[in-house]
């Protein structure tokens, strides 16, 4: 399983664990319009633009590479009625995403894998669409 560095993963692990604090969620809502414990640059409007651009439909299977705590993959799945699989090198983000999916009644349309975008553990043609946001920044 690949990773940028142990220090990088530790940094994100800390972020994911702390990201549910009320002050951080408030800031996220104000800046991005989301409440998925994100701290990147994909606003709600941009996430919706992305979903429209790739033509997501009910029943599609979406892969979100670098899924973090579930933004925007979970939102896209909720908005378009598709299933989403997230992959992120830090397990704690996936735990947060799984809890959010369960809370939103979407556990049956969500899965998360701890892994790296360089070594995707999926068979070819497993997904109808793939997204990644705020990964190369």
């Amino acid at each position: 399983m690949g990773s940028i560095s142990a220090e990088h993963d530790d940094d994100f692990r800390d972020r994911y664990v702390r990201s549910g604090a009320p002050a951080l969620i408030e800031a996220e809502l104000e800046v991005l319009g989301s409440d998925y414990r994100a701290n990147g640059y994909t606003t709600m409007g941009q996430a919706d633009d992305l979903g429209r651009a790739i033509g997501l439909q009910i029943g599609d299977r979406l892969l979100d590479i670098g899924s973090g705590c579930g933004w925007p993959g979970l939102h896209l799945a909720a908005r378009h009625g598709c299933a989403v699989v997230g992959i992120d090198p830090v397990r704690e983000g996936g735990d947060v995403a799984a809890a959010r999916a369960a809370r939103d009644g979407m556990a049956d349309r969500h899965a998360v894998v701890t892994g790296n975008g360089d070594e995707l553990p999926f068979r070819s043609a497993s997904f109808d669409a793939v997204v990644h946001t705020d990964v190369t920044c």
Binding site: R18, A23, L24, A27, E30, V31, Y41, Q46, A53, C137
Partner: protein
């Protein structure tokens, strides 16, 4: 050798590659983060600790300057795999 994102997509077999420049929105979002976090600095310092907080604010501030200097950009790419 630096490779553009567009060429990486093409090399990977994607076609119909489209790109939309979202740098202006990126700048606005980065500035909004600095302001939103700044207004909640006491609470967020308590969550992150002073060092981590200041490093994050510094990182965002430098990124904002880099955007303004034309060194950072943000694009939305869309492509299809035949």
């Amino acid at each position: 050798m630096r490779t553009s994102y567009r060429s990486m997509l093409a090399t990977a077999g994607f076609v119909d590659i489209g790109a939309e420049d979202r740098t202006a929105e990126y700048r606005a979002t980065q500035a909004a983060w600095i302001e939103a976090v700044g207004r909640r600095s006491d609470a967020i310092r308590e969550i992150m600790g002073d060092q981590d907080y200041e490093e994050r604010v510094d990182s965002r501030t430098r990124a904002l300057a880099a955007i303004d200097a034309g060194l950072l950009s943000r694009f939305m790419y869309r492509a299809t795999r035949p």
